[in-house]
């Protein structure tokens, strides 16, 4: 049985949040560092810089709640409680992978902790997440279906159609929209009207909505927890927009501020706001954490990262013959 991060830290939310963020950061950076070895042979979208939102959501959700995500799903999977070894093995295409090597970085799943899948087509897991909520409502469970999405995904018709239905039926859905200002290399300005905010759009569809500084992990956690309570009380779907920033290129392990779609200045501004160091400083200043606790978190993370890569390296490739094993049940 896996332990939820909040239990792991005996209810200390601050330590849980810091641990979650550091864990995501170090795993993502390790992928970036090792990507050029050519062993992780699949399109890989990293979340470095965006750890705050995922960590807050994963900490606020229980293992009982469900989550579904996108092409950029590592952080969501990990924060929800997903097994890092099986995620890395999946990126390596190994049989020990969380999707047995069939899916790669963009198709993660960990049913034990309610991570129901991530998919590679923009917007296409949104209706599926609403469907999970429909089932939850029918079964009269107190679970919430959490849908992770990007700022680009709200441009797809599937978003409107699914959000409309969720609002119509007052389904227990939590939309977590990470607005990182870009879809690949395209800034919001070429995709959405300048004066309209995504969370306003969501409100006008009929959902409760709010927006947060996605790099302020504690504020994110409190906001998400508050809305989760409302959803559990039956208020219907909530849509939360978080401003944040992806540090690395859209797909792949490199920094790409030099190629021209965004400026080094903009990057540095966001980097200064980054969620992890900022939170750690704040906790230290308020004596909410001790240096040995930080050292403990760091060493847990280092151990986890190295164990995950060892597991992946040691796991075998699936045999090509089993390729057709999962076409039909």
């Amino acid at each position: 049985m896996r332990q939820h991060v909040v239990q792991q830290w005996q209810g200390n939310i601050d330590l849980a949040l810091l641990h979650q963020m550091k864990r995501i950061r170090q795993i993502e950076l390790a992928i970036a560092t090792r990507y050029s070895e050519g062993k992780m042979r699949c399109p890989t979208h990293l979340s470095v810089g965006q750890e705050g939102v995922a960590a807050a959501a994963g900490t606020a959700l229980t293992f009982n709640d469900l989550a579904i995500s996108t092409h950029r799903g590592h952080a969501h999977y990990l924060a929800k409680g997903g097994d890092s070894s099986r995620m890395i093995a999946e990126i390596y295409g190994k049989e020990g992978g969380c999707s047995r090597g069939f899916g790669g970085s963009m198709h993660l799943l960990d049913l034990e902790i309610g991570f129901m899948g991530s998919t590679a087509i923009v917007g296409n897991s949104i209706p599926v997440g609403v469907g999970l909520a429909l089932a939850i409502k029918h079964q009269q469970l107190s679970k919430v279906s959490c849908i992770f999405l990007g700022d680009g995904a709200v441009e797809e018709g599937a978003f409107y159609e699914a959000a409309n239905f969720a609002a119509l039926k007052r389904l227990p859905v939590l939309f977590i929209c990470e607005n990182n200002l870009y879809s690949v290399y395209s800034p919001l300005s070429v995709r959405q009207p300048e004066t309209r905010k995504i969370h306003q759009l969501a409100a006008s569809i009929g959902m409760t909505s709010a927006s947060y500084d996605g790099n302020d992990v504690k504020a994110c956690f409190e906001g998400i927890s508050h809305h989760l309570d409302s959803i559990r009380e039956g208020i219907g779907p909530c849509f939360l927009e978080f401003s944040t920033y992806r540090w690395l290129e859209h797909c792949g392990p490199h920094y790409d501020n030099h190629i021209g779609y965004r400026s080094e200045d903009e990057f540095l501004r966001w980097q200064a706001l980054e969620p992890i160091a900022r939170f750690e400083r704040q906790l230290l200043k308020n004596s909410m954490i001790t240096p040995p606790e930080i050292a403990l978190i760091d060493s847990l993370v280092t151990k986890e990262v190295s164990a995950a890569f060892t597991f992946a390296e040691e796991s075998a490739f699936p045999r090509p013959e089993i390729c057709s094993a999962y076409i039909y049940k």
Binding site: Y35, G38, R41, C42, P43, T44, G93, K94, E95, G97, G101, F102, G103, G104, S105, M106, H107, T119, A120, I121, V122, G123, G152, A153, E155, E156, G157, A158, S183, V184, Y185, S186, V190, R191, Q192, C251, G252, I259, G260, Y261, A316, F317, P318, R319, P320, I322, C323, S324, I327
Partner: protein, 353 residues
């Protein structure tokens, strides 16, 4: 005048040519003006023709296809581009229910002259939703034209014809031919849609290939030649309309058909080739026609699982040997020469996309 250029440059040249020639040509799609410029195929277009004619779009494939259709009804010739065919699946409604039928269902009054460029992925773990080959779907819809050029010259010539055709045309570019170089004619040089091409002639057997399979087939045909087996290789280039006359003439001559495809085997273009040849040329056939295509299985991601998934020159050589009932030492030579990993087209491809 001709020059040796890359496939991606040939596409780029066709776009420049079309946009310079006709102000009604528009170009839009995710990333057409971004730093990568759709694998460089849309380079220098926004600079030259401006952001009114060359523009990025919201992630809204279905509506944007409909918007392209609407603009085409007032005389524009929109060219839309998607970095993976899979992303365009969201636009099936506008494509199939509107674009393909507008001319028909309003009794021939307005046609829809749009061009849709789709890039097919393969290798480096593109997996189940980034490497689907669904050209047979499109070809199955009356009212659509579908071309799949394998060489730079065809890419340029057919894209130009597609843009100036008065019907919806799907142009499918395989990611693995993007770096291919070849001789391309300068200026406005067009290849009619619906015409195949005999790449190498021979009388032992007819190999019909399309898109990237033509490249694998070329390697196979060269090896077979060294073993004294002369195959006729036809590159379909266009699958709707399909150049039946060219196929029938060749199969009548050789009496043997091997149809290659880059899609799942069942219900494929290769299936249609085999069926029509069996129906029309039954008496001319010296052996049962065969097809070589992918397993009827989604494409897995893992390096381990994609081993042997795709058809290579070796498979083609061996199948030809089996059909002719003769030894083919070329297969072994090809196997020995294989140095790049199976999931990349060559050293130039480093992933991840």
């Amino acid at each position: 005048m001709t020059r040796i250029i890359k496939y991606t440059e040939a596409i780029n040249e066709a776009l420049h040519e079309a946009m310079a020639q006709d102000e009604s040509v528009l170009l839009f799609g995710l990333g057409v003006d971004d730093p990568k410029r759709i694998f460089a195929t849309t380079a220098q277009l926004v600079e030259r023709f401006g952001s009114e004619r060359v523009f990025d779009m919201p992630t809204a494939e279905n509506a944007m296809t409909g918007i392209g259709i609407g603009a085409s009804l007032l005389g524009f010739r929109p060219v839309m581009v998607h970095q993976r065919l899979d992303f365009f699946l969201l636009a099936m409604d506008q494509l199939v229910n509107n674009a393909a039928k507008w001319y028909f269902m309003f009794g021939g009054q307005k046609s829809v002259p749009i061009t849709i460029r789709l890039v097919t992925g393969r290798g480096w773990g593109q997996g189940p939703t980034h490497s689907q080959n669904l050209h047979a779907w499109f070809a199955h819809i009356p009212g659509l034209k579908v071309v799949m050029p394998a060489f730079p010259a065809d890419a340029k010539g057919m894209l130009l014809s597609a843009i100036f055709d008065d019907n919806p045309v799907i142009v499918i570019e395989h990611r693995w031919v993007h770096a291919l170089e070849g001789e391309v004619v300068n200026g406005d040089w067009r290849i009619p849609l619906g015409k195949g091409r005999v790449v190498t002639s021979g009388d032992a057997l007819t190999i019909v290939a399309l898109s990237y399979m033509t490249i694998e087939a070329l390697h196979a045909v060269e090896q077979l030649k060294q073993d004294g087996i002369y195959c006729e290789l036809i590159d379909l280039r266009s699958i709707q309309p399909l150049d039946w006359e060219l196929i029938f003439t060749s199969v009548k001559k050789t009496g043997r058909l091997l149809a290659l495809d880059i899609a799942a085997t069942s219900f494929s273009v290769a299936s249609e080739l085999v069926a029509r040849c069996a129906i029309e040329l039954f008496a001319d056939l010296k052996c049962p026609p065969r097809k070589l295509a992918l397993p009827d299985c989604p494409v897995p991601t893992s390096f381990g699982l994609t081993k042997g998934f795709y058809i290579t020159a070796v498979d083609i050589v061996e199948t030809v040997g089996a059909m002719l009932n003769c030894p083919v030492p070329g297969a072994e030579r090809l196997r020995a020469a294989q140095t790049t990993p199976h999931d990349v087209p060559g050293e130039w491809f480093k992933g991840p996309f």
